[in-house]
Symmetry: C4
Subunit: 263 residues, 4 copies
């Protein structure tokens, strides 16, 4: 027992002593800002979370301890394995729904960032028969499937709080960028943190546009798959000052104004 | 007469001199923050109020003097008996609708906190035939009944300004957590202050979700009673960093930023 | 000519020299705060205006020079006669729609404060056939009529920019508290400034409630005239800490936080 | 090659050394404020842009480098020719959709300011068959046409990123003040910066009004062309303290409060 405790302790202090690489620090910083931005942009409320795959260990991911996203700071960021387990011992509470993240990282080697939110205008699409189709959101192709815990596991409290549910959700997500969780929220994935924050924000925005288009009535001209593919190609190429780069600076400034300086 | 005045005075100065227990102080603090949060979250406007059962005297409850919730401070908190009467003499104005609170505390020994609000997206449900059913709000079971002063007492100014109306409302509320007041607002109850604030906020949120789901049209998948029961069980267990604990820190910070420091 | 200029000058400097009575100062202060509050509450945008009948001269009213309500300060307040004329010479621009106010003061001896706004959720009711009926707004009785410049005067730029149009509007308003101006906004009247601000804010709020009730569909339970009459009676009696008194403190604090200190 | 580099360098340093005329400085200042205002008023998000024709060179226009409008400062403003080319060499990123502006300035000698935005309530009108007609927006006449890149150029990423697309858009805009871009946003034009900001804001406002009027159902009374013509005539005459003059002061103050001081 003593040996085990010692091993855990040295792992924890080891992680504390090792200075993060510049790449790791950049991901941690984006993760912290991403939490604040998602809250300031009203995509997450006190719940919801964002994670990033560890840049040096593809079998680990980084996420805050269980805390409201609007309050997350760098010291909150923890490391998890792909079974949802903590890498270093830590007494602070952790998100019960970390399995949303761990199972996506297992199933999707192309994904390096994940958001789970209760995006308010998205939830109505998760409980009706109206598909969430793209007006402007080019990453909605091939589709935005709906995952229902009821179909996957009967009566639950809706939380994706174990690997089995996480795997079922990841199966529903498939190769898509967004999946809805019935009566609950959504999961959004992307190749990096800034892109996943952008996608989470524009998923909510597209839901608003579609709701209003439905209110106007009549036929709706959706984004064509061909158009979406061309838009995704532009977004994919990193061009400083364009795409998610242009908005990050502004979102960060507004988020820190609303939620307070990072300590 | 002189004896009575002296008795009242000594009761008042007695209350002032006795230092609140840690438990009482915690309830008072939550009550003050709760007022500010409900206002900052746009659940109450300049009206509406929140109360808590006295932790040491189950036949008393604590509530601010008549003041806009966004301005309440600790010195505003007064003590009332379950007939809506002031415990200690006080010349400051008191809420005419304190009977919403007093009669609920009489009828519901399980309830220790009550909110009355004019929650904006909830009121339309109180004047139409569309039941306020749960999309995400697990505490909407068994149901959200609608109380109408017209049925209870004919023509009134809609205010629950006496015991008889308070009792009629409490009868309509029954064992539920939320009841609507036609053309007026709602009452929300819970076992403690943080939970009642959480429920008041998520009642408004669920009303928004349901309104939007109705706008999309077609069948709606509501939360099943079985699912709600499991969610309520999780919420019931106090788990630090989870449930209403996670949001309180953030809500408090935002509320104080919007409404000003507590004096 | 020189005599006239001198007379005007002495009237102006006279007005400047005479110290306002406490009653007049109170009205001016409420007018300035009322401007800020209406803007902070999103009832007026950069346009719209609020006036008060002069407490000592019933044939005059007080209103800001032409300025966005969110910026009005005490030095902006001017005096007008009931033909819309300036009492003292002043080179600063004045509202072209001051005739909304002057003609109401002529027609309604019971009215001492008037708001004209482009209240955003109210305008849709002015261009459709759906009457703006009371869900919570007890001052909507007897009714909320719609005034159309087209019916009154054929093709115009919609502005009530002369006495004739002001009189036509006042005739449509009749004994009501609110009238809509088609495709433009509304006029709201009351016995004092704090009440007219309250009514302007709750006209917008009731419009939102009714719009949402319409979206839910089915029959709507409106406030009964009997209930409204009882509510108006309560509002009429000035009770410190209740009615518009309770909200004024909070609205003023928020308005000054948003629009800046009064200079 | 050396000669060319020297020539470019001297052009750049020349532009830097030459002090802007008072008229040019005024346009640059309005452009910077206009960017901030459009963002603070939620007409543009992190994208969108505003430009002004050079007051001394009708074959040039001024616009920020590629940057979120909420962050633009005077040093960001660049000069472009009507083929969308930079006048002075500059390594900072430029808006790929500058051709929206250049081609409008070519086609419309009466236009001196252009806004491109993703105005949120306007986009639903661009993807449905409901024409964006005027409730209050007098500048919507003759009409608000919809431009679709699909019709003009088949499958694209929707960006107006070359002259050909810019010309096609300008042809659709014709002599109108507003045109919608399907599934994307809109372009708004005017004789000066303050007017184009006003129009962009009130295009969004009118879209909201029309959406709500549609939700109420039944016949809608639109602004008549005769009324609009009279309103436009008033707006056209510059009257200090009226029209867009009245709102500019307030919008500027709010925008700087939200987006930060100009450095």
């Amino acid at each position: 027992m003593a040996k085990k405790r010692k091993a855990l302790q040295s792992k924890k202090s080891g992680a504390a002593k090792a200075r993060p690489s510049a790449e790791l620090q950049a991901v941690i910083d984006d993760l912290v800002i991403g939490n604040r931005v998602l809250y300031a942009q009203d995509v997450v409320d006190g719940y919801g979370h964002i994670s990033a795959r560890h840049p040096h260990h593809p079998d680990r991911f980084l996420m805050s301890r269980a805390r409201a996203p609007g309050l997350v700071v760098a010291a909150d960021i923890m490391e998890f394995g792909l079974d949802g387990e903590l890498i270093a011992a830590d007494e602070r509470p952790i998100y019960s729904e970390r399995f949303i993240h761990s199972e996506v990282y297992k199933a999707r080697p192309d994904v390096n960032a994940v958001v789970h939110s209760h995006s308010p205008t998205v939830v109505p699409f998760s409980v009706t028969q109206v598909p969430l189709r793209p007006i402007r959101a080019s990453f909605f192709y091939p589709e935005v499937p709906v995952f229902d815990t009821r179909a996957a596991a009967g009566w639950t409290n809706l939380l994706i709080s174990n690997s089995a549910l996480g795997q079922a959700l990841a199966r529903t997500l498939g190769q898509n960028s967004v999946a809805l969780l019935r009566g609950h929220g959504n999961v959004v994935v992307a190749p990096n943190v800034r892109m996943v924050v952008y996608r989470a924000i524009y998923t909510e925005a597209n839901a608003k546009l579609l709701l209003q288009a439905k209110m106007l009535g009549g036929p709706i001209t959706y984004l064509a798959p061909e158009e979406a593919a061309l838009m995704e190609k532009s977004q994919g190429r990193h061009r400083p000052g364009h795409g998610s780069d242009r908005t990050w600076e502004m979102w960060k400034q507004e988020a820190l104004a609303r939620t307070g300086k990072l300590r």
